[in-house]
Symmetry: C3
Subunit: 114 residues, 3 copies
């Protein structure tokens, strides 16, 4: 059984495709053993949640549908002048993305920096 928090803080078409593949593979491999999985998006990573790429959008939708939660860093949204409504999926919110990654680890969650 695993709870996992994933850091998404870089950008680029290749990066986006790679991290989506990583997360889908994680989900497929662990199956029901993946109890909770939060994808924490901050800094440049926010580009993923504003993608124009239809395939990536569908993958994000499928992950959300399967129970994976995307969490947007409020500090980044504010700095980039972006609102949650402008993102490609509905997201949870954390004041500071990095603080959320730390808090989850203190709660025993595994951590991935992608």
């Amino acid at each position: 059984m695993a709870n996992v928090v994933i850091q998404i803080n870089k950008s680029g078409a290749d990066y986006d495709r790679r991290v989506m593949r990583n997360i889908m593979n994680l989900k497929n491999q662990l199956g029901d053993d993946l109890v909770q999985c939060e994808v924490v998006v901050f800094g440049e990573g926010m580009d993923l949640l504003q993608t124009q790429d239809e395939m990536i959008k569908e993958q994000i939708d499928a992950l959300v549908e399967s129970g994976i939660e995307f969490i947007a860093c409020s500090n980044t949204l504010s700095k980039h002048n972006v609102t949650q409504e402008e993102l490609v999926c509905s997201v949870g919110s954390a004041g500071s993305g990095v603080a959320h990654l730390v808090t989850r680890q203190t709660e025993g969650w595994a951590y991935l920096a992608l």
Copy 2:
């Protein structure tokens, strides 16, 4: 005493040299306190295990000789059409590299994203 799982998922000659130095320094510093160390290779990181650089090959051999295990992500091998036999050292195998990194953390291993 430490068990460590290391993520290798980027590529480039500089990156390869740097991560080999990091792993050799880790091994030298911790000595026998480094009980188990697995280097999990996936995505672009697979270039390391197909390197043509003789110095890197020798460093990989020395690390394997010293008890460090390299683990190749099956999803990446399959996507890149590469077989384990084409890699520069004998490797363990994980269905999904990221899932393996998560599983080891749930078992109490430390994690390094290099």
Copy 3:
């Protein structure tokens, strides 16, 4: 309550600004819940501790003032022919930066790879 060890091993003006913002946000968000925080600098990351950017220098000073400790990898200093006295702040020292990151995790600290 959280103890956190942060990996700084890349370089570039954008990277430096980003990681400083990340660490300041972490500190602001967690407040007194952030018990100990060590920023472990190695490899290319050592550029941060030799920055010429006055704003970054002030941010480093403010973080040190607030109780966050910067730790320089001795292997990197030696490889780059740099002494602790040439760095922009007073730092702690670790033989191997990666080994220190591992040791802290075995002591229950959270880990961030920035």
